[in-house]
Symmetry: C2
Subunit: 352 residues, 2 copies
């Protein structure tokens, strides 16, 4: 690294951070782009912003496509704004109408916030290596938290493991269901319910909504009685935990609410439910979600350091040759990993 | 580690490998369970099996729920068996009827292979930390490859990034679409197409199937002309590549086929298309997919070593205390990572 470049970068990052903290939304957006692209500016900015974060309520909202997540997010923004809270949305959903632009109604609804400085909406590409998505979203949330947003909504589609992990890394995880969904979606639901702190049956004006809610309540009670295996600490919530970690018992069965996001029915109750869940977390001290999130962030940085080390000019040739041997089945991947580890030394890059 | 335990484990693993190579399917299943659970037996078994693998054709099959992946897989098994090939299926799909058991028709179809020793079907849980799924599936495929299966089908649901990465790590990636799917699924489709070597419009007996195929062909040509940015080497296919890696140009636009898996229409043509794609890969020498797969496996092992190191008894307390400081926002995650790196030394565990 050329020292001058590093110093310029630091000056850039400092200026962006100062501007973002002063309320400049374009500077905020640029920091989030840096976080998304994992540039050096992101690290510099996060090192300053992270200590200022921690006050926001981070809410994950996930569910299958078609459950009405984006409409619910739009309705929640409205309710939170009425309560005087600044709201930021990070949408990690390739099919999200908020960022993908499929449903005109939602876009119109969102555009009504375009001139409201206390609403900030951002999409994050569901790209890059697996595992990076959760840490990138968490880092983005920390930036928005430091910038003074009270409520941060992480919207993800609840179909892939990574996307579920993003939502599950929040303080409070809301899982959306729609009444009368098909069999395949039902199968996905079981996995989703494991991460839910609050379950919302949306499209409450459709026939079957109350019945779906009753079925979900019965299911959650049954699973709860079966012995706390619902929320698996070694899985979604604790990325660096050793595989032996026993499943963390669920502290309380999730509330099941019925909403109709298009009309706003049930939205104030959802906001209250979010507040109740958060208050319980505060009583419990460091919530497990916060610890898991911290772990995921540190782990992602450690993994980045290791990854980068394998690709520095001095190591790149050895790394590539080793990978080619594995691809040709001349070397097993364990032997390859050991050879690479023997050849590299992980260090704080600033000490080089 | 107690030496005796280690020796017993090695003897266990050796016996399992010997039995699996001799055709014992229960031993094979036990090795796959060890791989799925990342036990020490898995490493011991893989170290022996990996050099024996490399001959099989690894085919990823992905697509949105409802496109008929499992029916297609069942039909492909039939066609491949008729051609005298031994077929293994690894299903990484929580909604898969093959393993999840939703559609009776498919289960009946699969049961007709229950007594066929040259068909092996295995589900893998889509669990564990993100990024582990691709390497676990790849390791499972290597075991099945070493055990003599000619064609290995990796079935995943194409909705989450991890699941798409699993399919994209195959030699040949087949993306399924069904005609006339909803808008939200169309949005997902664009991401899926980026990893496709072959696109299959299934449910060809439905109205609109040929039109969907024509639309897809036009879309693929347009994207191809736009400059090879379709298949992003830095994304799904190259998990350890530095972020600067330029997008790899797509070698050839994917073929678009129409099948009706329920009747078998188009299935022989799909098998031929798979063979053609593989032959092209062979001509090209080490295919990018093989290199990416090798990289992903080595990377997963390196990450496991790092993860394990942070949780050995000597480091665990420091790790936990550091994570708690980050959770309390007393320490930023970069400083935490550097503190942890300064305190640990990565080594081959056998050298301890």
């Amino acid at each position: 690294m050329v020292a001058g470049t590093g110093r310029e970068r630091a000056a850039d990052a400092d200026a962006l951070v100062d501007a973002a903290l002063a309320g400049d939304r374009r500077a905020l957006a640029r920091i989030l782009t840096a976080v998304e692209n994992r540039t050096p500016v992101a690290e510099l900015a996060l090192r300053r912003l992270y200590p200022l974060a921690g006050a926001a309520h981070l809410v994950g909202i996930t569910g299958p496509p078609g459950a009405g997540k984006s409409t619910l997010v739009a309705a929640l923004i409205g309710a939170a704004r009425e309560a005087g809270r600044a709201v930021a949305v990070v949408a990690v959903d390739p099919s999200s109408p908020i960022t993908g632009g499929a449903l005109l109604g939602d876009r119109v609804r969102m555009q009504s916030y375009a001139t409201d400085g206390d609403v900030f909406i951002r999409s994050m590409a569901a790209r890059g290596h697996a595992g990076g998505l959760a840490s990138t979203s968490t880092a983005a949330a920390a930036v928005l938290d430091a910038a003074g947003f009270d409520l941060i909504l992480l919207e993800t589609v609840g179909t892939g493991q990574s996307e579920v992990e993003v939502a599950a890394a929040a303080d409070t995880t809301v899982v959306l269901e729609a009444p009368e969904m098909g069999d395949e979606v039902q199968a996905i639901k079981a996995g989703l319910l494991e991460v839910a702190d609050i379950v919302v049956v949306n499209k409450g004006d459709r026939p079957g909504a109350q019945r779906t809610a009753s079925q979900l309540r019965a299911m959650l009670v049954a699973v709860g009685r079966a012995g706390g295996g619902v929320r698996n600490g070694a899985g979604a919530r604790s990325p660096t935990a050793a595989p032996e970690t026993p499943p963390r018992p669920r502290p309380k069965e999730p509330e099941v609410l019925v909403t109709t996001a298009t009309t706003g029915d049930g939205i104030p109750e959802l906001l209250q439910s979010l507040d109740r869940h958060r208050a319980r977390g505060h009583e419990a001290g460091d919530t497990p979600a916060r610890l898991a999130r911290a772990e995921a962030q540190v782990w992602a940085i450690l993994a980045d350091r290791l990854r980068a080390e394998l690709h520095v000019p001095a190591n790149r040739e050895t790394t590539d040759a080793t990978i080619r041997q594995v691809a040709a089945h001349e070397l097993d991947p364990f032997a390859a990993a050991d050879q690479l580890l023997a050849g590299i030394r992980l260090e704080n890059p600033s000490r080089r």
